[in-house]
Amino acid sequence: MSTLVNAAPEVASTTPRRSRLTAAKRRQYGAAYVLVMPFFIIFVAMVVVPLFYAGYLSFYKERLIGGTSFVGFQNYADALTDPLFLSGIFRMAIFLVVQVPIMIALALFFALAIDSGMMKLAKFSRLAIFVPYAVPGVVATLMWGYLYGRDFGPFAQLSRALGFGPPPFFTENGMLFSIMNIVNWEFIGYNMIIIYAALRSLPSELYEAARVDGASEPRVAWSIKIPAVRPALLLTVIFSVIGTFQLFNEPKLMYPLAPNVIGTAWSPNLYAYNIAFVNQDANYAAALAFLLGIVIMIVSYIVQLSNQRKERRS
């Protein structure tokens, strides 16, 4: 094998060269498969197989009498008329149109501010805003849960001292805000860093000229920097769509603090979890997981599509 390679540079005529090239190619293919396959085997086993297994399960139903039987799309039909599942999806849709824009806008603003070079302590600010990402969602929710808390939460203490009742963090509407706030706290920094990294990689010639022409910093940010980091913004939006619909940790950990408000189906993922592990209905849970995946794909696709359309227009 090695002699073949060693001889390769001396080859003059074309015909033997072609056959050697294919031998080299074949060797390269072999190496490429060896490199790619370990990942792919794990990927198939841990992502593709569960995906198909969920699809398979979702077409069956376990009955008390008669065991498991094929029911076609029955589970899906049930899910699409299941008020608990739909209310969870609806709640996540609110999340998507309220929390995600706030999060991305703040992340973008912070990234632009730090990148503008017009503030002191820029590096410190960047780190401080990013640090919550290192905090596990469990701990973040625990902390905020205590902060919101009626017993020794500082907000409740303050409002008691001022003669008001406990703040409405755990009410029906308050909970939506409370959880949005936790998610914002956790992920603004992460999104900021993605956008900031994109800003940093822009060539400064891109906006230096505008500055020389006297454009103000907000103007440069709005007209030059933001359009230039569109791909990074798109990435953050898509990750946020995926993250939002999968919300689980926060409502699950808020449950002990406000069981009646969270219930079993605050988020679709929490609902699927409860169906699978409390109701022991794996088939229905699989259908819910599959539907949730489809919803996420559709929304991400719409986001990408609208982005492409905008890009074509501009």
């Binding site: 490429a32 794990i42 841990m46 919550p132 290192a134 596990p136 469990v138 990294a197 910093e217 993922n269």
Partner: protein
Amino acid sequence: MTDAIPGKHRPAVVAAEGFPVLVERDRDQEAQAERRRPRKPTSWLLTVFMLICVGYFLFPLFWLVVASTKSNDDLFSSFGLWFADFNLVENIQTVLTFQDGVFIRWAVNSVIYAVVSAVGASFLATAAGYGFAKYQFPGSVALFSITLGAIMIPLAALTVPTYLLFAEAGLTDTYWAIILPSLATPFGVFLMRVYAADAVDDALIEAGRVDGVGELRIFFTIALRLLLPGSVTVLLFTLVATWNNYFLPLIMLNSADKFPLTVGLALWQSAAAGGGGAQALFSTVITGSLLAIIPLVIAFLFLQRYWQSGLATGGVKT
């Protein structure tokens, strides 16, 4: 002003020249930023506003530190945002000895899950990313498209089916139940493909071939070193994702001695919030939370340039 420009267009990765790369580039950028900054007037309005915002991000952590120093009684009786009697040492002792020191067990588990998953995932992603970037083999486009498409798959939605599969294979409640699913990181493969395309010069591979070095040896002896900064980024991502994961271990594990910190702390928390005699647990949960985040926060601060460069690769090239 002029001296700031030449380095500016330096490609993200300067491979063949020798050693990497991202670290240096980042320092370079910092230096440029420093040079660039003084030219613009400082906006105190912006600075003050930003510091108020920074306060919001640090405020819960400040509260956590303050609360960790309090006895359970002081938690209820003293103002939440300032210190009372200093009880931190006792609290830490309680955390470490409560229920026969199960917290230490959880911490060790978290380390095992995070480190094994991160090293494994990073290696798999590096090899695959390099394979996709440097070879065009039959099926490469299809396989890479599948990988890319999988970034969109909500992995949490797959957790329940994965649990059911693992249950049939008898793998639930084992270390593998956490490690195996964490090894598949499509986003890591994507990052490494983008990274490898720049980091490893084709001419270098060609030179290796001419010298008769086998393809895999080229990868292990030449490319791997150049890919290291990217690999570290993927490693850190997976490390944090696994360390912070709650859903997967919650579903997969039954025995408390296999729990990671997240599941353990949540267990204590629900016992504390459940009221009754468990109320004394609050200070333990709070101090435990503080202990659980310290290693990661420190790792973050020290390794931040890897984060940034990795995210830059992902954010810029999509």
